[in-house]
């Protein structure tokens, strides 16, 4: 249980510094430290169990379908890394409190840092490869935020972007690799995978899985040839460099190699790939570090080199090499973090970290100088420091390694790596701290506050302690961790200072002598080096990414040219081509269903439709004509519904057609009245061809279906309509009862559309839009804006129409009709009042708000559905009964009627709201004063004074 909290605590706690920064920087740093400390306490509470050899684990299913679970495990390796992450994290938090400038947003910094810490803990504690991937990506993202923390600096942004692209790209490869691995092993739990190493190594997918995983690990740990991102990531604030780029994130790749060591290592492929990559990285990184003037850049390449050393040890595949790797991870974390922090102090105090401008700092900042030089000694591998011990073990292992028949390769190159390492260490220490005191530092340097040097001092303690008493201080931890890496019995070894006169000692001696030579001849070597062309990784990377961006931009510009017609054309062309292919490859047999004979009225209607369609195509640029022709087609479709036994559809189609036409007329009033002729003749023929083939295909398909018999599921509805739904109009019963859920959702969609229309046509249009409306308003109004005959007819019709609406509504359950149609009829009657008497006249008299009506409609429908719960039935179950009233007699009442009432109200509200809103746009800028009561016929003979309009 406690195990979950270890990674989750920093992730959740990240909110604390972001909030507490308002209470001051000390509170903020304190809260951050407290979170880390709490996580560390939780971790240590598990220490007794781990040291007793137990593997603590917890698991909670997350997405079981893809075998993703929140499972964590804590063994020696996880404990080792988690402790390193938390302890160094704490030191960095303290250090950063003093390092960050007053102007730096400290709350954000600590929030990112905690997020990163949590992600990193997740990586090292995950017991599920998919969960590990999630945390792995999270470390990439949070490190992006941390590297780019000084977002005003271009180099920080570029470094962050490069780190994200390289590690993120590696993460993609890793996803593939780990999924392959999980598939081979038959489980995504790491503990299971580790137990099935033999199956994995025998699988034909072993090599692809291995290569993909290695790409992920090598990019993360900056191994050659992916080493180039790490130095650029040094644009980050120094605490970030110390934390991410020496102690934690770059170790994630190495952690992965160590974690999967039992499952993957020990094969020929592993040795042939991993060991030389590590060796090459070690030598190349150390070589470049010798020629860097920036302290942090020097340390960055040194880190690359040391990571290569560890990778090489893991790549050797022997148990002894694995022990050495673990030991060196520990040692490197201590001395390198100390060195980064020291470099940060130098930068902070002297104002520069360029070795050419430094020197003689030992007497000015003695504490820092002492600490830094101790750490440097360890980095160089001087005896009595911990770096010496693990370096000796590395040399010892390299001495016994034969690669591809070359027994000399590994020993020589390993010695060369050690030699180069001595060279840059000497340069770092001597050029910075020794030599004469200068007087041209940007700031006058002195020792920093204790909060900055104390973390360094605390890191130096293990450097010395392990260096002097390796077995006593680190023996237990190394044995525990190495045991977890190897997953079996440990080799016979002991950590000690003196092993006798071994080959490794001789190699060390050579390295020291050579390193000293290199340091002394550094300038000549540099001049020599500059004569040869050196590939500049950053330029290559930027050129590559620019090319990709350019290609993507071209592709986007070509495929997304912003033209709707182009998109439609492409989509339609693809659809038509697919349809043509399907029709061409299928068999064609004539249907056997008996056809209905053609009647003369039907033929006439068909002809009218054909003419209307063709005329629309030919003359669509005259928009009013196109609109009229559209409604002709709609009417003929309605006639078709009448002909083919669909009275409900016919009623709906006719009334919707009326509403749609009014709506489009209102809109056309404010739009240009014609469309320009924009397309060339060939373009029109091309569009015509696409449309023609598409129409032909749909027609043929419809014909093919109609001439064949087919089974329908309608029998159930027909049989159950009366006994189950209490109505004889099956269509209506389906709508309000069987498929009530669909209808409920539909009226909600209608309501949303109406609200969107309301918002879009807010009468407070921007000034430019108002001007356009004014320009488009017809110049010539008819002499009689509100003709008396229309007004009289409309007002006389209103009660009649309402009565018809009620009638259609009530009978809808048994006869053609229902809420939809009744709603449309009533809405049309109301709209007619707008048309006849004007917007303002109606608006002044309207007592019910359209929005309220929509809300009431959806509400009533929903409540009817919920009411079924009260009777223990599912949502929207309907019931019905027979009631007897005097006069009226016995009649049937279904609860579905109430639901239909909701539909009715919604439809009325939506229709009226949409049209009223449209007419209001014109009204709001109408320059003509509207008479207060335009068409209350002059019975009272009141003079029609233009009165000032109410706002």
């Amino acid at each position: 249980m406690v195990l979950w909290l270890i990674p989750l605590l920093p992730l959740i706690g990240a909110i604390l510094p972001a909030l507490l920064i308002r209470s001051g920087r000390d509170v903020c740093a304190g809260a951050t430290g407290f979170v880390s400390l709490a996580a560390l306490a939780l971790l240590l509470s598990q220490a007794p169990a781990v040291f007793a050899g137990e593997v603590v684990s917890v698991s909670l299913p997350w997405v079981p379908q893809i075998q993703l679970s929140f499972s964590f495990m804590l063994d020696g390796l996880g404990f080792f890394f988690a402790a390193m992450i938390l302890i160094i994290g704490l030191l960095v938090i303290v250090y950063a409190r003093f390092y960050l400038d007053r102007a730096d947003p400290m709350g954000r910094f600590y929030a990112y840092l905690l997020l990163f810490q949590g992600a990193m803990l997740g990586v090292v504690l995950s017991n599920n490869v998919i969960l590990l991937l999630v945390f792995w990506e999270l470390t990439s993202l949070t490190s992006f935020l941390l590297i780019g923390f000084w977002r005003h600096r271009a180099d920080a942004r570029q470094g962050a972007r490069m780190a994200l692209i390289v590690t993120g790209g590696g993460g993609l490869a890793l996803i593939g690799g780990l999924l392959l691995l999980g598939n081979i092993a038959g489980s995504y739990e790491i503990s299971e995978i580790l137990a099935r190493g033999d199956i994995i190594k025998a699988s034909p997918f072993y090599l692809p899985a291995l290569v993909l995983i290695l790409i992920g690990a090598f990019t993360k740990s900056a191994q050659f040839p992916f080493h180039f991102w790490l130095p650029h990531a040094m644009a980050a604030p120094t605490p970030v460099s110390a934390y991410l780029h020496s102690a934690t994130m770059v170790k994630a790749g190495i952690f992965l190699l160590a974690r999967l060591w039992p499952a993957l290592a020990g094969t020929e492929a592993w040795f042939l790939i991993v060991a030389p990559v590590g060796l090459a990285t070690m030598v190349i990184g150390a070589w470049i570090a010798n020629f860097r003037d920036d302290l942090k850049s020097l340390l960055a390449f040194s880190t690359v080199s040391h990571l290569g050393l560890v990778t090489m040890l893991l790549g050797l595949g022997t148990k002894m090499a694995a022990v050495a790797a673990v030991f060196h991870i520990l040692n490197h974390a201590t001395f390198k973090a100390a060195l980064f922090l020291s470099a940060g102090i130098v930068d902070h105090e002297a104002g520069t970290r360029d070795v050419r401008r430094l020197g003689g700092l030992a007497s000015l900042m003695p504490i820092t100088a002492t600490l830094a030089m101790l750490a440097t000694a360890s980095m160089a591998g001087v005896p009595f420091f911990n770096g010496f011990l693990s370096k000796e073990m590395m040399l010892e292992e390299a001495a016994h390694t034969t690669y591809a028949g070359m027994a000399w390769l590994f020993p020589v190159l390993a010695t060369l790596g050690a030699l180069l390492s001595v060279g840059y260490s000497a340069r770092f220490a001597i050029r910075t701290f020794l030599g004469p005191v200068r007087h041209d530092y940007p700031h006058h340097p002195h020792d920093p506050p204790v909060g900055m040097w104390l973390p360094v001092a605390l890191l130096i303690v293990p450097v010395l302690a392990i260096g002097l008493f390796p077995g006593a201080v680190a023996g237990g931890l190394v044995a525990l961790t190495a045991g977890a890496v190897i997953g079996g019995p440990l080799p016979d070894y002991y950590l000690a200072l003196w092993h006798g006169l071994t080959p490794a000692l001789i190699m060390s001696a050579v390295a020291f002598a050579g390193g000293a030579m290199l340091f002394l001849t550094q300038e000549r070597m540099d001049a020599l080096r500059r004569r040869f062309p050196r590939p500049e990784a950053k330029a290559l990377f930027e050129a590559g990414s620019s090319a990709v961006v350019l290609a993507a931009r071209r592709a986007t510009a070509w495929s997304h040219d912003g033209s709707l017609a182009f998109y439609f054309r492409v989509i339609l062309a693809v659809l038509v081509a697919t349809g043509v292919y399907a029709m061409a490859t299928a068999s064609h047999e004539a249907g056997t269903r008996a056809m209905i004979p053609v009647t003369l009225p039907a033929l006439i209607a068909w002809l009218a439709l054909v003419v209307a369609c063709l005329a629309t195509v030919m003359r669509h640029r005259d928009r009013l004509l196109a609109l009229i022709l559209t409604s002709v087609v709609g009417l003929i479709v309605a006639l078709g519904f009448v002909q083919f036994s669909a009275p409900d559809l016919a009623l709906t189609q006719v009334s919707v057609d009326v509403v749609t036409t009014i709506l489009m007329l209102l809109a056309l009033n404010l739009l240009p009245k014609t469309s320009p002729n924009e397309f060339s003749l060939p373009a029109r023929w091309r569009d015509g061809a696409i449309a023609g083939v598409g129409g032909l295909g749909i027609g043929l398909l419809a014909y093919a279906v109609m001439t064949r018999d087919g089974a329908s599921i309608a029998d159930y509805f027909l049989a159950q309509s009366k006994p189950g739904g209490g109505g004889t109009n099956v269509v209506n019963v389906i709508l309000v009862d069987f498929r009530g859920y669909d209808t409920f959702a539909e009226i909600i969609v209608l309501g949303i559309a109406a609200v969107a229309i309301f918002a879009l046509l807010d009468p407070r249009l921007p000034a430019g839009a108002l001007k356009r409306v004014r320009m488009l308003m017809p110049q010539e109004e008819s002499g009689d804006v509100h003709p008396p005959m229309l007004v009289v007819a409309a007002r006389a019709l209103l009660p009649l129409a309402l009565a018809v609406g009620v009638f259609i509504f009530l009978r809808g359950h048994n006869q053609p009709g229902g809420g939809f149609i009744a709603g449309l009829v009533v809405a049309i009657a109301l709209m007619l009042q707008y048309v006849a008497s004007g917007y303002r006249w109606v608006a002044d008299r309207k007592r019910i708000d359209s929005q309220a009506m929509i809300g009431a409609g959806v509400g009533i429908a929903g409540l009817t559905g919920i009411a079924a719960w009260a009777f223990g039935k599912p949502f929207l179950t309907s019931t019905f009964g027979y009631f007897t009233l005097p006069v009226v007699g016995t009649f049937e009442l279904a609860s579905a009627l109430l639901f239909d009432l909701g539909v009715f109200l919604t439809v009325v509200g939506v229709m009226v709201l949409s049209l009223a809103q449209l007419s209001r746009v014109g009204q709001s800028v109408d320059p003509l004063p509207t008479p207060e009561q335009p068409m209350d016929l002059p019975l009272d003979a009141a003079p029609l004074h233009p009165q000032p309009r109410e706002a």
């Binding site: 000084w150 942004r157 931009r553 912003g562 033209s563 017609a565 439609f568 056809m595 209905i596 053609v598 039907a602 033929l603 054909v610 369609c613 629309t616 195509v617 928009r623 196109a626 559209t630 479709v637 078709g640 083919f644 036994s645 669909a646 559809l649 709906t652 189609q653 919707v656 749609t660 404010l670 739009l671 240009p672 469309s675 320009p676 924009e678 696409i690 449309a691 129409g695 295909g697 398909l701 419809a702 001439t707 309608a714 509805f717 309509s721 009366k722 109009n729 099956v730 269509v731 709508l735 539909e746 969609v749 559309a753 229309i757 046509l761 839009a769 356009r772 053609p816 939809f820 939506v910």
Partner: protein, 132 residues
């Protein structure tokens, strides 16, 4: 009769498709109206054509298929809702921009790549902010 209905559906589809390929919003909206007529009629036709057999329960007990009718009825109403919405969208767009084109103007399209940030390989922005 089936032939007439099928050809009408095909013709309405073709008209609708032709109109949505035009470059202005109003023809596109009219085209969508045609398409919804065609689709509704097509869906309706999937229930096969019958004459004088409305799905109203009577003692005769022979009916057409009510299910496509129920589907089409809701489709008619909802296509009104959608038509109203795009009409208003098109109208508002025209009022805001003074154009009812359904593509980005060429000038805008030409401006786009240049305006994209971080396009220079060196990535050094012209006006680099000083540290606050």
């Amino acid at each position: 009769m089936e032939m007439l209905v099928a050809s009408a559906i095909g013709l309405m589809t073709a008209t609708g498709l032709f109109l949505i390929l035009q470059g202005r919003s109003f023809p596109v909206i009219v085209g969508l109206t045609f398409l919804s007529y065609a689709v509704n009629a097509f869906l309706f036709a999937m229930g096969r054509l019958t004459i004088n057999l409305p799905p109203i329960i009577t003692p005769d007990a022979a009916y057409t298929d009510p299910l496509p009718q129920a589907l089409v009825l809701t489709a008619i109403v909802i296509s009104f809702g959608m038509t109203a919405l795009i009409v208003v969208l098109g109208l508002r767009g025209f009022l805001e921009t003074g154009s009812d084109r359904t593509d980005l103007s060429l000038a805008e399209a030409a401006k786009e790549p240049a305006a994209a940030p971080d396009s220079d390989p060196a990535g050094t922005p012209a006006g680099e902010a000083t540290r606050a």
